[in-house]
């Protein structure tokens, strides 16, 4: 197979070139007289990193400007933002994203706490936790295909087979139409398609929550729980009043991380929701759809800015919380 050698060859060549260039630049810097020698050496060390960071900073600034332009790159002021908050389709996207944040974050965290609590010191704990954690390793695209199969119609889709066990229930075709939850027609209520895709992300995120919370639970000092028991607390009271408050920091970490992941949900909507059709779109998906397939870069840029505004405070909270936990120990 020529492919193997050509791609691995390219990889090796690329890395070799990079190492050679850095080495050569450092050697050149060492030939300079002081004080330039030290400065040049510092520049060689930090220069490549700074150039890449410029590749982040400059585009991010330019993106703000693009968000004020229309489809033809004419000045459009706040028009794109107005469209986001007034157009019916876009409101659906915003409410969907909100539901995503609430349901996926809430349910994943609760599952994480439940598993961490009951699996703790249980026989076979590593196996059970590995099974729940495994989906974290695979791609959203892979997860999408796994669940597309579960949701697929006719005889081989697990969900439809279960639905048809009920007498009189018809097969439901998901993702090719927009079936409503209890038949409710509203932009503020997520459709069945969205809920089914949320299940997949819960399936992925709960593993992360389990592993992190479980490790935190093992760090709770035993004397603390013991003391509560001696004071007459039941098993349940000890858990809710002593253990959970003790690992509050970790739970905040899990929730903020999950919210951020959810806000940026994209691949899975492309794999399962036909690129956001039939009521499945979310902010990050809409950013992509508008900017590239729809060729409306201004609107796409505006979605990116909104995403940034939504994500930034959560990252900040997360960072502060992690620092507080570091200093607390």
């Amino acid at each position: 197979m020529g492919d193997i050698f050509s791609s691995l060859g390219l990889v090796v060549v690329g890395i070799a070139i990079f190492v050679t260039v850095i080495g050569a630049l450092y050697w050149l810097a060492s030939q300079l007289p002081e004080p330039w020698r030290e400065r040049a050496r510092t520049a060689v060390f930090i220069g490549p990193g700074l150039i890449l960071l410029l590749g982040l900073v400059i585009p991010a600034l330019l993106n703000f400007r693009f968000s004020f332009l229309d489809r033809d790159e004419e000045w459009y002021g706040l028009g794109n933002y107005r469209d986001v908050f007034t157009n019916g389709n876009n409101i659906k996207v915003l409410t969907n994203t909100l539901w995503w944040g609430i349901l996926v974050t809430g349910i994943s965290t609760v599952i994480g706490v439940v598993i961490a609590r009951f699996a703790d010191r249980m026989r076979g704990e590593p196996i059970a936790k590995a099974a729940i954690f495994l989906p974290t390793a695979i791609s959203m695209v892979g997860a999408g295909i796994i669940w597309n199969f579960v949701y697929s119609p006719r005889e081989y889709g697990l969900l439809n087979s279960l639905i048809q066990l009920w007498p009189g229930e018809q097969e439901v075709t998901f993702f090719l139409q927009d079936p409503k939850l209890f038949g409710i027609q509203s932009d503020w209520v997520p459709g069945l398609n969205s809920l089914l895709i949320m299940v997949v992300i819960i399936w992925i995120q709960a593993g992360f929550a389990t592993v992190v919370i479980s490790a935190a639970l093992k760090g709770v000092p035993d004397d603390l729980v013991e003391a509560a028991r001696i004071d007459g607390a039941t098993e349940r009271q000890a858990f809710f009043k002593v253990v959970l408050p003790y690992i509050k920091g970790t739970i905040i970490t899990v929730m903020t991380t999950t919210v951020i992941a959810v806000l940026k949900i994209f691949d899975i909507i492309q794999t399962m929701g036909k690129g956001g059709s039939f009521g499945t779109s979310t902010m990050a998906n809409e950013m992509y759809e508008q900017a590239f397939p729809q060729d409306n870069e201004g609107l796409g840029a505006a979605w990116a800015v909104l995403l940034f505004i939504a994500v930034a405070p959560i990252v900040y909270v997360n960072a502060r919380n992690q620092r507080a936990m570091r200093e607390g120990r």
């Binding site: 060689v44 585009p59 697929s152 087979s161 951020i260 992690q322």
Partner: protein
């Protein structure tokens, strides 16, 4: 107080020893009878979807499309590897699927190595070289973690397709560069935390002995940083391996696209060809699963470390 979260600072070596008194263990084991059934129930529920896909990938096309995979337990039909050999040669966008596997390899290995190498140099400079504005720069880099990569897609794509950008770097190299850019703040932040907390005496003793920055970096700092580098490398490697968005936006045509692209193309155009999709999805998952099962400890640490990013 003891740790409230494992491994914070996130890349410190992990040693959580079970020091529970025996009596507590006994009390716990007896007090949570029904709880463990909940755990096993959820664990089973979590496994079924993947198991279904795995079993189906070994069933002949006619079987997949006529009966559910669960019937395989009661009346085991034929087992075949044909789906795998078919999908590897199957044409997606005019190219065999196997080519996309190698594209993913070609994207993911440098996509992990390049940013980590560059970030390690920068982290060393920010920790152990003296220059004006060093601390301000460190703070600025940490602050950049709040920028979601979506902010950069449109302007960066314009730059990559402009005349200022060398044509030789189009395609796969531009995917590497994009991943390096997006991974840089987190990588510098984590490596600086680690490299900056190495013992000062070690570095200074080497300086006194006349070692240059380069030799300190290569001979002392890099070997000491292996645990941090490994966790970060695994996180970044899996991130790039599983990525669809960055490759799709910056990679151009099918020739440079990874497996994720090929799979989404198959879902879109031939969503009912489950004999191909099941096998294809598993081929894409094999490497992450091997990494997960063999390096779980580093994997967890890498994942935790990555959780500080926007």
């Amino acid at each position: 107080m003891t740790t409230t979260t494992p491994d914070v600072p996130l890349l410190a070596p992990a040693t959580t020893k079970d020091e529970t008194p025996l009596m507590t263990k006994v009390a716990d084991a007896t007090s949570k009878g029904p709880g463990k059934y909940v755990v096993w129930l959820i664990a089973a529920f979590w496994t079924i979807p993947t198991l279904g896909l795995l079993i189906s990938s070994f069933r002949p096309e006619d079987d997949i499309k006529s009966t559910g995979w669960w019937t395989w337990f009661t009346e085991p039909g034929n087992v075949t590897f044909e789906n795998y050999s078919t999908v590897l040669q199957d044409k997606v966008g005019g190219r065999p699927f196997s080519e996309f596997f190698w594209n993913t390899v070609q994207i993911a290995i440098p996509g992990a190595i390049i940013p980590i190498t560059i970030a390690a140099f920068a982290a060393y400079a920010l920790s152990w070289m003296n220059f004006k504005g060093r601390d301000a720069l460190s703070v600025f880099i940490v602050a950049l973690m709040v920028v979601p990569l979506q902010m950069c897609l449109i302007p960066l794509l314009r730059f990559f397709s402009s005349d200022f950008f060398p044509e030789a770097l189009d395609g796969v190299p531009s995917i590497w560069i994009a991943h390096a850019i997006f991974g840089m703040p987190l990588a510098i932040f984590l490596l600086k935390n680690f490299i900056g907390s190495l013992p000062r005496e070690v570095i200074e003793a080497a300086r006194v002995d006349g070692a240059s920055h380069m030799s300190i970096f290569v001979r002392i700092v890099m070997p000491l940083s292996v645990p941090a580098l490994a966790s970060l490398a695994i996180f970044q490697f899996l991130w790039v391996w599983n990525d669809y968005l960055v490759a799709k936006v910056f990679g151009g045509g099918a020739a440079n696209q990874p497996m994720t692209w090929a799979l989404i193309d198959m879902v879109g155009n031939r969503g009912n060809e489950w004999q191909l999709l099941t096998a294809g999805a598993f081929i894409a998952m094999v490497v992450p699963l091997i990494v997960f099962l063999s390096l779980q400890r580093y994997f967890v640490r890498g994942l935790l470390a990555g959780s500080v990013k926007g």
